[in-house]
């Protein structure tokens, strides 16, 4: 069974089809890099996979189940464009809150562990609104990994990250892949993404232009997929 299966998904914004008959799969332990120009539909597809919006046609399955089922959501971690943590709460309060919402047995202990893993243990009681951008991003990473998800959905995870946050995220993603987690990430940072990816999907104007195994050519030349399969190829 695929960890993530997208079966003939169409998504419209008004009359405009943002996704057109998308069909792709990610096996358990795979890392799928979703690439494409701005407006290609990467974020729309990731949000549909995450269950934030529903597709008008087609089906999305996570380990064979609907994305909105509670059991499925418990297995998913998501990092979107925003950091999704509360400015008015402390780092510890934020992670404890999400630990409680995910039903962790000891939310505070898990929160403290992840604050240490992301290098935020010294500021655990500081309000997020007082954090630097890099610290906020590391906290966002901790939030997404806190409940040990089996599937990670990452929307432009490396964009606007500082060096330390990139290093933390790359380390955690490598550890996750080694532990058999499935990763689906949209990105414009091709070099970082293709180093991690096992598979690549190229979206062009809402359509799947390419879906296959990542090859060494793609790592050597990050523009290869666009040149070979993109518009004007």
């Amino acid at each position: 069974m695929s960890a993530v299966a997208v079966e003939g998904v169409w998504k419209y914004y008004g009359d405009y089809p943002a996704l057109r008959d998308i069909r792709l799969e990610a096996a358990e332990g795979a890392c799928l890099a979703l690439i494409g120009r701005n407006g290609a539909g990467k974020t729309t597809l990731l949000r549909a996979i995450a269950g934030f919006s529903t597709a008008q046609r087609g089906k999305i399955k996570i380990f064979g189940k609907e994305p909105r089922e509670a059991e499925t959501r418990r297995q998913m971690g998501f990092i979107g464009h925003g950091i999704s943590v509360y400015d008015e709460l402390s780092a510890l309060e934020n992670l404890t809150l999400f630990g409680k919402l995910y039903g962790l047995p000891n939310p505070k202990k898990s929160a403290n562990e992840w604050l240490e893993r992301t290098g935020l243990e010294r500021v655990r009681n500081g309000l997020v609104r007082e954090f630097s951008r890099g610290m906020r991003q590391r906290l966002a990473v901790a939030r997404a990994f806190l409940h040990e998800p089996r599937v990670l959905l990452l929307d432009e995870p490396f964009t606007a990250l500082d060096d330390r946050a990139i290093a933390v995220l790359q380390r955690l993603l490598r550890e996750g892949l080694a532990a058999g987690k499935t990763i689906v990430m949209s990105t414009h940072q091709l070099r970082e993404a293709l180093e991690l990816a096992t598979h690549v999907a190229l979206l062009t104007r809402g359509q799947l232009a390419f879906h296959g195994v990542r090859t060494q050519e793609m790592v050597d030349d990050p523009g290869y997929v666009y040149a070979r399969y993109g518009e004007g190829a």
Binding site: A50, G51, F52, S53, T54, R68, A70, E71, R73, R74, M76, F78, G80, H81, G82, I83, S84, V85, Y86, D87, E88, L89, E93, L97, F98, K100, L101, Y102, G103, L127, R143
Partner: protein, 226 residues
């Protein structure tokens, strides 16, 4: 029990965030006190008419001030895209919604309970003898305001003009509840028990709360995810 814990977690998060910033409660309280003060210059507290309109006046203030708090209910989730994280969490949409409702309910009720003595002083009404019944009507009316305000706050959260849209959508639907609350409150703030004829209004208010709570709980998942 798990469901109750999820609701309580969301409620406590919203209350904690609001008590740190005080942005909604300060605006709401300042607005309520200002309107009460301004109206007190308009109406003569000695007139019979004042007694007749006191309930309506009070609920107009509560409804307007309450909207300021309710506007923030889901708008609070917009900075940093926090709503995504809440929707992604494995809790039912109804638990998220109820958690937010209870937090807003506490905040709106707090503003009302502060406004009530001020109203008593400015308008020379004797609201204390019937306080238990009045408190009951406040609870029912405030729940109606909260449940409608919160579901429409969720519906309008991604609209740019949500501050304008929320009152436009909520007040027409709230009419039966506001009419009932006004009618019941008028006798109570004048120190009189609810007249027997007005028990139909009480039933309507209870019915409104039950029906719209049930409808909102059914619809909230669709409202949040679409």
């Amino acid at each position: 029990m798990k469901y109750v814990r999820q609701v309580a977690t969301v409620t406590m998060k919203d209350l904690r965030a609001e008590l740190r910033t005080k942005e909604a409660i300060n605006a709401s309280l300042a607005f309520a006190l200002m309107i009460l003060l301004l109206f007190s210059y308009t109406f003569d507290p000695e007139q019979e008419m004042m007694r007749q309109v006191s309930g309506g006046l009070l609920w107009i203030v509560f409804a307007f001030a309450g909207t300021l708090t309710l506007n923030r209910s889901f708008a609070r989730e917009l900075p940093n895209d926090c709503l995504d994280a809440l929707i992604a969490a494995p809790i039912p949409g109804s638990a998220l919604f109820l958690g937010k409702c209870f937090a807003s309910f506490v905040l709106v009720l707090a503003v009302e309970l502060v406004s009530l003595p001020v109203f008593g002083i400015f308008y020379r009404v004797h609201w204390t003898p019937q306080f238990p019944a009045l408190f009951g009507v406040l609870l029912l009316g405030t729940w109606a305001l909260t449940i409608i305000g919160t579901i429409f706050s969720a519906l309008t959260v991604n609209i740019k003009l949500r501050e304008v849209m929320l009152p436009m959508l909520t007040y027409p639907i709230l009419m039966p509840a506001l009419m009932s609350a006004m009618r019941l409150t008028t006798s109570l703030v004048n120190g009189q028990p609810i007249p027997e004829d007005d028990f139909a209004w009480l039933k309507m208010l209870v019915g409104f709360d039950v029906v719209f709570t049930a409808v909102s709980l059914v619809l909230v998942e669709t409202v949040l995810v679409g």
